[in-house]
Amino acid sequence: MAGLRFDLRDTPEGAPALRAELRAFLAEAGKDWSPRVRAYSWMGFDRDFSREVGKRGWIGMTWPKAYGGQERTALERYVTLEEMLAVGAPVGAHWIGDRQSGPLILRLGTEEQRREFLPRIARGALAFAIGLSEPDSGSDLASLRTRAEKVPGGWRINGRKVWTTNAHLCDFMIALLRTSPITDPRQKHQGLSQFLVDCRLSGITIRPILDLVGEEGFNEITFDDVFVPDSMLVGQEGAGWEQATAELAFERSGPERYLSSLPLLTAALDDLRAEPAAPEAVGRLLARAGTLRQMSLAVAGMLQEGKTPAREAALVKDAGNDYEQALPERLREFFDPGRTPPEVQEMQGYMTMVARSYSLRGGTREILRGIIARQLGLR
């Protein structure tokens, strides 16, 4: 069979108790979150909130206790993510560290790096940005040009990164940089390496990029002779491409790839009761969410078993993005400006604008479908 298999999984035995704990915490922490805050969901950045989450052991949950983790399972972590996303908690200050930077350091970092970074991420005290895309290298990531040159004791970085969401608020990024020049364009995947870069180092300029919504969360980082010591190289010099590909499996695998707009559905439920045709539409949306959830859980289960389900993750992200993009528009049909509460309308308006980005961030729809086509043996 040409397609991909997604075996059904169950959430772990302790899930109901964990859920109850999370819900109690989120009800209290979120009592003053405006619909706008909830609409930001995992793009929302709130260090105080992240520290509270860290205090309860819900960041880096699966990591060894020696590095500040809780040694819980990937599926327990999944339950935690679901609860956070369902209410649109502003998890952005710890999301990237928990999801991909921490796991990367745990897998490939030196002992020194693990001890230095992981406990701080787990406490919610260290925010990470993603350092992959560049102005001329997005989907064709391997063509990136920002370079790190070897100098005594370390590396000197020059170039630019974009789509570094919230980098102006973050502490560190893991940057994918060219450490050997491209000699043959067919071998552009070689000669890349990953580095831990302190976002406040001298030579770094972070310039905001105003987006369509009128926000500046997205920005551009310029590196001008930035020095990082040897100890900041992550994994192997020259193996950056393979490392980053594995990192993307983490980046694409989570429930945030179909749940970004779910808080709108929750917020709108009461209002939707007034529309006779709404229950069927809501039923369909929930049924689809149920299927996507099973697929997403299947990917989490594979991660738990130590696999790298990059293709499965791409498929779930693609299907999930379609879903989370369609949801605000589907619900809009039932809203009535004279009846629907203004905060629900505001949330809907905001999501309609940002929903475009759901199928860009973390890999575009076209790139993901290319990955699936490769699985089908067409490429």
């Binding site: 069979m1 059904l8 299947a298 699936i372 086509a373």
Partner: protein, 287 residues
């Protein structure tokens, strides 16, 4: 129940897969559409104990659950198996749940308002109306010509008389147990058929050449097939999830109706577009 039956399920699936690979052919499908009963194939599925697979062991069955059934039905769909095995399995399960020991042989499933596939070939007919299940001897019934909703096999309308036995399914099976079972088996078969359609379409895209190269080499085609693969996977997951929910919470707890309706309908037509002789698609399900 089904969760502990993994090994048994695996063996059964392998047997069904092998049997249908060997026996289910375009010629057989055409013959059944002309109204010829596939007696030899039916004898083989009966020899495997499949018709009573969902019936508890105490009533002479194998004791498999709905999730296991979904897996079997998906294989039937993948091979476009030209026999009413899924319906007979569901009929036996419904009878057993209503406290009626299911008879051996083909049990046709009669649902309200629908023609009964292969009813005239059956030994017995199980009619389900709401939560009530009745068992009839097929020979005692009179039949009016009917037409199958989807397939092309013979399907007629039974005029039900006094039943041999009468019972009710447990409340957890819902007020529409027959329709739910029917929806579940159709959902599983659709999911299986979509897998086959995807495989065939991908093969075709790799071999059919236009503009000097396989059409699968064009990004526009690749992207459509990628979407198709995602929907096919989603349909399989939705059907499997529905089977599991039916085992855990009763048939009424199954969650499949919506998803399969969307994925099945839309994607089926998209796949068909890719094969240019549209009428050939159904028969090509037999490789």
């Amino acid at each position: 129940m089904s969760d502990t039956n993994e090994d048994l399920r695996g063996i059964l699936l392998e047997q069904v897969e092998r049997l249908l690979t060997d026996r289910s052919s375009p010629n057989l499908l055409r013959a059944t559409e002309r109204g010829e009963w596939p007696a030899a194939l039916w004898a083989e599925v009966e020899a495997l104990g499949l018709p009573l697979a969902l019936v508890p062991e105490a009533m002479g069955g194998v004791g498999l659950g709905w999730a296991d059934a979904v897996a079997v039905w998906q294989v039937l769909g993948r091979h476009a198996a030209p026999l009413p095995l899924a319906e007979s399995m569901a009929a036996a399960a419904l009878l057993a749940a209503a406290g009626i020991t299911p008879p051996a042989g083909l049990i046709a499933l009669a649902l309200p308002g629908e023609a009964t596939a292969w009813g005239r070939q059956a030994g017995h007919v199980a009619a389900v109306q709401g939560g009530e299940v009745t068992l009839h001897a097929a020979a005692d019934l009179t039949w009016q010509p009917g037409r199958s909703l989807i397939g092309r096999e013979p399907a007629d309308q039974a005029m039900l008389g006094e039943p041999l036995a009468r019972g009710r399914v447990p409340a957890g099976w819902g007020a529409d147990a027959g329709l739910l079972a029917g929806a579940l088996l159709q959902a599983a078969k659709i999911a299986g058929a979509l897998e086959a359609a995807l495989d065939m379409t991908v093969d075709y895209a790799k071999t059919r050449k236009q503009f000097g190269r396989p059409i699968g080499g064009f990004q526009a085609v690749q992207q459509q097939l990628a979407v198709c693969a995602a929907e096919v996977a989603a349909c399989g997951v939705a059907a499997a999830q529905a089977g599991r929910a039916a085992d855990r919470r009763g048939l009424a707890g199954a969650e499949f109706r919506d998803r399969l309706g969307q994925g099945g309908g839309g994607r089926g037509s998209r796949d068909r577009c890719r094969h240019h002789p549209p009428g050939a698609c159904r028969h090509r399900l037999h490789r």
